[in-house]
Amino acid sequence: MDTIGDAEIVVIGGGGIGCGVLHSLCQAGKTDVLLLEKNEALASETTSQAAGLVGQVRTSIERVELAMWSVKTFSEMEAEPEAKPGWRQVGSLRVALTDERVAEFEQMKSVADKAGLETAFISNDEARAKWPMFDFSPAKSVLWCPSDGYLQPNDLAMAYAHRARKKGARLATGVPVEGIRTENGRVTGIDTSQGVIACDTVINAAGAHAWHIAKMAGLHLPIFPVRHEYFVSVDAYGMQPELPVMRVPDASLYLRAEINGLLLGGWEPESLSLKPDDFENGQTPPRVEEDWDVMGWFIEQIAPLYGKAADLGVRTIFKGWPTFVPDGKFIIGESRKLKGFVMAGGCNAHGVSGSAGIGRHVVESMLESSPSDYVRSLSPDRFLDSKWDAAEAQTRAKRIYETYYALGH
């Protein structure tokens, strides 16, 4: 049997984040890198269930810049013939239904202006020209971002993997990680089902298993899987892949076309979350049962703009366990507690869209002598320097999900 072989850097997790980090490492010239995925195929858990929305309009300049980096990367990748992420730069509409939201959009627009991201307020008639099936009369303002879009998360992971492999990165699937080896306060290797792999650095991009991997290294991080679902309808009149992505934050919803059907998802007010120790490291998280009350809630929420949603047949429901953390920020970078142990997780359902930008920040945290204040603020040490209460942390992480589009979020 082939041995996997040692590597300078091992990335644990073959989802959107793990593959994105691997790709960023290769871009930065680090090519003695190995990615390990416990499942038989890449992107087989949360990534494959993601909706693939990529939005750059955010409330902070750092987050706008991170997303702009992702968009730039996706556009470059889509231009290559061999492995495309299915990136469609169709633009996006944000629809405000309240005066408070209009004020938030104005603030977001000024952040976008500072970051050099093109956005514009458009009239309800212009919005209707972009989404003719919708009634925009309840809209108080509509913010348009022409460079937003959506992609196919599975294809993105495969495209990252393809590009990284071409630069010399290795990927091994069906290899669960069983332990982290340390010596004198630094990582020296990992135990896997296929033996020991020596390495200088381990990057934890294990998604819903990131808590387990961190625990192996003796680090206790508040990473909570929170259930998320959306549905794709049967073919619906007027739906076509070129329609812009739409977000209606006052209704807590996002939507786009999925070929000729409607993709509709959102952030329900009473979420369902897991404690990370509800499942073992080697297991997949519990199967998500379809929750029809949540689908019904989405349809009620969209009714003022699109009453027809109630008549659409549901073709399929996508569902998974993205992870959330109590402060709603990524966990990125090396811990002072353990040299060579680097986090890339706690994505709060921004993993796919953020993956290229997150990968870049992970590389910055590792290779730059002085990473930015923003990147340093994402360090896992913010949860390791003080004690936190598990129940309270879970409640706060759930709250991040439930108020995903809330004002001031």
């Binding site: 495309k84 699937t173 070929i259 047949g313």
Partner: protein, 320 residues
């Protein structure tokens, strides 16, 4: 309770879907049947053997082609004369067209595409799937006005004909005004390939085909082995194939004897639509493509080279 079954027929035979309607649990109801068309009298016998107490024949050359307009007018005149409690039709293209016309014309209650219908005394209940079959609605009729119900084919089993039974036969005369629509010609579809959900062999192409035109090599291969042509989501999204060919979580779920994936990487969404296939063959340039994890036979190679060779081999074998 009086029930009227609208009989469909073709080439002098009752349709299977019509026969099945007699297998529904109709209790002690008095069952009538109505047949429309030209020269339809011979159908009265079989309808009687299935359980119709009385068969009404509306015979007219205008009804021969069975347009929705003409059937709607004929039955719209006849049904109030008979005054049934329930009209049953199969949820076929004809039934789907006719039932709403009748319900509107007769101010009747309407329940379409039912997968369960039962009559108990005066009570009629029906169940119909909603949200593409993910949930079921139970329909209750809240007053005693006429009910028009269409039933999805294969909901009930057709009863064995009982040769000892026969129906009373009654011709019915209707006045048909000048028709606004006529059927000029029936043209058979030139698509001789089987549907992806019905075929025992499916050949699927992915985005790496690069264009709609290049799918011709997949079509040629499929035709050489009598297979259906499937498509990955990405190829449908790129506009190479129509949605009806899409295999996967958001497309069709197929379970053929042999599934041949050409240039399909094997995203989870795709595997969800074909993983129960009996034998899976994958052709892909990327040896790490996840489709190979599931495949019984794999060819690492360029589909543009491999597939034409397979087509050639199949043709030679067919020829020998």
């Amino acid at each position: 309770m009086k029930i009227l079954i609208i009989a469909e027929h073709k080439n002098g035979q009752l349709s299977e879907a019509t026969q099945e309607l007699f297998g529904l649990p109709l209790g002690q109801a008095e069952v009538h049947a109505v047949v429309t068309g030209e020269g339809v009298e011979p159908l009265a016998g079989p309808l009687g053997q299935l359980g119709a107490a009385k068969v009404h024949l509306i015979d007219s050359p205008t009804l021969a082609s069975g347009t929705g307009e003409s059937l709607g007018q004929a039955l719209g005149q006849f049904i109030p004369q008979l005054a049934p409690d329930v009209v049953l039709a199969a949820h076929t293209p004809q039934g789907k067209d006719l039932a709403p016309r009748l319900a509107a014309a007769l101010d009747a209650a309407l329940a379409t595409d039912c997968v369960q219908v039962s009559c108990d005394g005066d009570q009629v209940t029906a169940r119909r799937p909603v949200y593409a079959g993910k949930a079921t609605a139970e329909v209750e009729f809240t007053n005693d006005s006429l009910k028009v119900i269409t039933v999805r084919p294969r909901t009930a089993k057709s009863p064995e004909p009982d040769a000892t039974r026969s129906a009373e036969v009654a011709p019915v005369a209707v006045e048909l005004p000048e028709q606004k629509t006529t059927l000029k010609e029936l043209i058979a579809s030139d698509n001789a390939r089987p549907d992806v959900t019905e075929a025992s062999i499916v050949v699927t192409g992915g985005r790496s085909l690069g264009s709609a035109e290049n799918f011709s090599i997949i079509e040629a291969f499929a035709d050489s082995i009598g297979a259906a042509v499937g498509s990955s989501r990405a190829a449908v999204d790129a506009g190479y194939r129509p949605y009806r060919d899409q295999v996967g979580q958001t497309g069709k779920v197929v379970s053929p004897q042999v599934y041949i994936a050409c240039g399909v990487s094997g995203a989870i969404q795709h595997l969800a639509g074909m993983r129960t296939s009996k034998h899976i063959v994958a052709i892909n340039t990327d040896p790490d493509a996840p489709i190979f994890q599931l495949a019984d036979y794999g060819i690492v190679g360029d589909l543009f080279e491999v597939v034409p060779q397979l087509t050639e081999a199949a043709k030679n074998r067919n020829g020998s």
